[in-house]
Amino acid sequence: MTGAYFAGVDAGSTYTKAVLLDSDSKPVTTAIDMTGINIVSAIDKVYHAMLAKAGVNEREVGYVVGTGYGRYKVTFGNSQVTEISCHAKGAYTLFPKTRTVLDMGGQDTKAIRINGRGEVVDFSMNDKCAAGTGRFIEGSARALGLTLAEVGDISMRSTKPIKISATCAVFAEMETQEQLAWGNKLEDILYGVHVSIASRSIGLLRRVGIEQEVTFTGGVSLNRGMVKCVEEQLGSKVNTNPMTMFCGAMGAAEFAREKAMVAAREVARP
């Protein structure tokens, strides 16, 4: 076996994320950047930034798995796995008691149910419409001139959420402006936005059936307002931590590690 490290690269619609694991499945380091228009160079940049941060040479990496929308663009990867399997694997690695995963990213929301071995039993995704995804929050943030990190926190100050019905990202900006124009409070509007998106994703979770524990992954899991809304609507706690945004890459790296082990065993066999 050539390398002692295993990498996962998740080329998402909004961010490209990478995770490096050692042979004990321990995260060594992570890296992230906007995917932007040139996905190939984003992948390259993030991957090399990660290696540089870890002080690891490319040759020391035994196996690379690509995932996310741009998984086929991870040209230096050894194989590709869909982000559904990766998020499941990642969530299971981070929180082994996970049975249900909610992944909210830039233009996709996924609900995944897994078994006691971290394998996917059932999954469901939003239909061919980006309504109710992270992009909606980005739109509202833009309309209000706020950063993504701020919106969730501000929404948590609300005492009386405004009802927001549209969850279409295209109209997020307009609806937010309209509510402001009617003199509604910023935090109440934002809370309304979060409530409405959370309820759509709970619908997806119900499709696969909700079993404890629930782990919330993807970029939106960094949004504390959304975590709160999801928990309120579920009536239970969800797992999140600073690594959940990297869950897809984490799962990919874990797959890389497992695949390398299998390959090594096969080589070892005479």
Binding site: S13, T35, G36, I37, N38, I39, V40, Y69, G70, K73, Q107, K128, C129, A130, T133, R135, L144, G145, A166, C168, A169, V170, F171, E173, M174, Q177, L180, A181
Partner: protein, 267 residues
């Protein structure tokens, strides 16, 4: 007599001053901030400064656009569809169809000989067709908005973009870039796709020449070309038409004053 019009859009606020319902004295535009009233008075002050006039010399101010109710110093308000139709007829008197394409959505209207709107329609909510989408593409491709159209115009083989959803269209654009499709072809494809939605809306109200384009997209030559190709006819699109909404509002204000004074017996 001088009347003013302020068009408070979601992206930009425009103001115009008109003399005797005919002569354009000044126009101006500023970016709409959170405070509609503040942006409106900025735009209005700028127009006054251009024309070298004081507030006291303006007889009547008509507000229009998304934020029309948020402008406290208005005398009256009208909708942007009515205002744009009037403005288009003021600048291009033979106009029969008006297409107002701003940042958010597009509105098409058809007017009769007297300038009265007979039919109008706005782009469907889902499948937004407007300049905002092009702005996002500009942002993604790091091309300045004002140059976006020029780059697109260099295209010989525009791509066909089929998605109805502009969110997903963004990722389609990203996909195309990854497939190394030339930038100009992608951009022209994006312009065509917005033009296609706009034309669909116009066809629903019935197309008759002359067609006049108003709103922010008159600034974008590639969009105008895509529009003309799809309609198979020429489209009025002079830069002045950017201010059609504000001008139309000023004109409606003028008409209203005239009506009032004739009702009062003052000629």
């Amino acid at each position: 007599m001088i009347t003013a019009g302020v068009d408070s859009g979601t992206k930009n606020t425009k103001a115009a001053l008109l003399e005797d319902g005919k002569k354009v004295l000044a126009t101006s535009g500023v970016r709409t901030g959170f405070d509609f009233a503040k942006s409106a008075s900025e735009a209005y002050d700028q127009a006054l400064a251009h024309a070298g006039l004081g507030k006291g010399e303006v007889a009547y101010l008509t507000a229009t656009g998304f934020g029309r109710y948020r402008i406290p110093f208005r005398d009256v308000s009208v909708t942007d569809i009515t205002a744009n139709a009037k403005g288009a007829r003021l600048l291009c008197p033979k106009t029969t169809c008006v297409l107002d394409v701003g940042a958010g959505n597009a509105r098409a209207s058809r007017v009769d000989e007297g300038g009265k709107i007979v039919n109008f329609k706005s782009t469907e909510k889902c499948a937004a067709g407007g300049g905002g989408f092009l702005e996002k593409i500009a942002f993604y491709t790091s091309i300045e908005l004002k140059d976006l159209g020029d780059v697109a115009l260099r295209s010989a083989n525009p791509v066909v973009m089929s998605t109805v959803c502009s969110v997903l269209a963004e990722s389609e654009v990203i996909n195309l870039v990854t497939q190394e499709v030339p930038m100009e072809d992608i951009l022209m494809g994006a312009h065509s796709s917005v033009a296609g939605r706009v034309v669909l809306t116009l066809k629903q109200v019935g197309v008759q020449p002359e067609v006049t384009l108003t709103g922010g997209l008159v600034m974008n030559a590639a969009f105008v070309r895509a529009l003309e190709e799809k309609l198979k006819m020429g489209v009025n699109s002079s830069r002045e038409l950017y201010y059609a909404g504000a001008l139309g509002a000023a004109l409606l204000g003028y008409r209203r004053l005239m009506k009032k004074s004739s009702a009062n017996g003052v000629a």
